[in-house]
């Protein structure tokens, strides 16, 4: 008897214990963590499709400068490089926070999330100073179609990062107050997915907008 239980434990993910055809007929719903994660993954993909519309708009309008400045006159690649490193490191610390949540280690979770938050805020600060600088030089979003597309695309990413930071602080507070409950674990997983997806979109932004745009 003990042998059969042991044998089934390896090839029986649903713990059906020796009712082999039950796995075929009554598999039942997937665990909630998988359903939630998959649903959020679908949302992220739809978010990426929305960003692709902003990218298409930008690519179509990039030469329509209406006699105003173009990208190579406006962009400061050193600032963009620092922003990129900040966001990459925040993705890394977010991954560490995810691992800490899985092994239910509160101090490491809070430290990694705090690091993610600081890196994200530094990114937002740099982006805000860049926008303020452009507007001060008379290159605001109303100057030309190119700048409208630029501010919508990069600003939309910035808004996502801001929303991500609010979510991050909420997760820190929830873990502090309620601990690692199953539902909070799912929220942490979704947050990590969201933050990594933002980093993927930033890769497209710095490549397409800043690096290609800095070519004269």
């Amino acid at each position: 008897m003990a042998d059969t239980t042991m044998a089934y434990a390896h090839s029986d993910p649903h713990r059906l214990r020796g009712i082999p055809h039950a796995a075929v007929v009554h598999e039942g719903p997937a665990p909630k963590r998988i359903v939630t994660g998959f649903g959020f993954w679908i949302f992220l993909l739809s978010d990426i499709v929305m960003f692709s519309c902003f990218f298409a708009t930008y690519a179509v309008l990039v030469d329509q400068t209406a006699g105003g400045p173009n990208g190579s006159e406006l962009f400061d690649l050193r600032r963009v490089a620092v922003e990129t490193v900040l966001l990459l490191l925040s993705s890394f610390t977010c991954g560490l926070a995810n691992i800490a949540a899985d092994i239910r280690n509160k101090p490491w979770f809070q430290v990694s999330m705090a690091a993610t938050c600081v890196l994200g805020l530094a990114f937002l600060y740099l982006e805000a100073t860049e926008f303020a600088d452009l507007v001060a030089r008379g290159a605001g979003p109303t100057r030309s179609a190119f700048l409208t597309a630029f501010f919508s695309l990069v600003g939309c990413h910035g808004l996502h990062v801001s929303a991500g930071i609010l979510w991050l602080l909420t997760m820190m507070a929830q873990v502090f107050a309620k601990g690692f409950r199953a539902d909070i674990g799912r929220r942490i997983m979704c947050f990590a997915l969201f933050w990594h997806a933002l980093d993927i979109i930033w890769v497209a932004v710095f490549s397409v907008v800043y690096l290609l745009g800095s070519k004269p």
């Binding site: 993910p13 796995a23 993954w41 690519a59 179509v60 990459l88 497209a204």
Partner: protein, 129 residues
């Protein structure tokens, strides 16, 4: 028969979740991902500003490096793999990528076509007077 079935039908993984491995291995995965991402980013920024390569190849190089880096992020940070427990996640991703290519490629194609075939705007305005 039943063993074969359960071999093919292993439990699914949520996107972002990893299969096996201890904490050390998982942290190592993120370290490798971060290293590759920084390497690709540095290459991108270097290629964008260099005079060492044939200039018209630079945009292509930047796009290729960007796609490679997105792949690195997907594998090492989002843990989207080709494993049997990841089929649903990969199918959703493939559909998303299809739509992204249709939207961006289609827009660029149509707008370039219009630009080529339409009269410049000032001439249209003159004809309407």
């Amino acid at each position: 028969m039943s063993d074969q079935f359960s071999e093919q039908h292993r439990i699914d993984l949520a996107p972002g979740d990893e299969g096996e491995g201890g904490v050390g291995l998982r942290v190592l995965g993120y370290v490798v991902g971060l290293g590759l991402a920084i390497l690709l980013t540095a290459t991108s920024f270097f290629v964008a500003g260099t005079d060492l390569v044939w200039q018209p190849s630079i945009p292509v190089a930047i796009i290729v490096l960007a796609i490679a880096q997105m792949g690195v992020h997907l594998v090492f940070f989002l843990h989207i793999t080709t494993g049997p427990d990841n089929t649903n996640n990969v199918m959703a991703l493939a559909f998303g990528v299809l739509i992204v290519f249709l939207v961006i490629g289609g827009s660029l194609w149509i707008m370039a076509n219009l630009n080529q075939n339409m009269m410049p705007m000032d001439q249209i305005m003159q004809m309407q007077r």
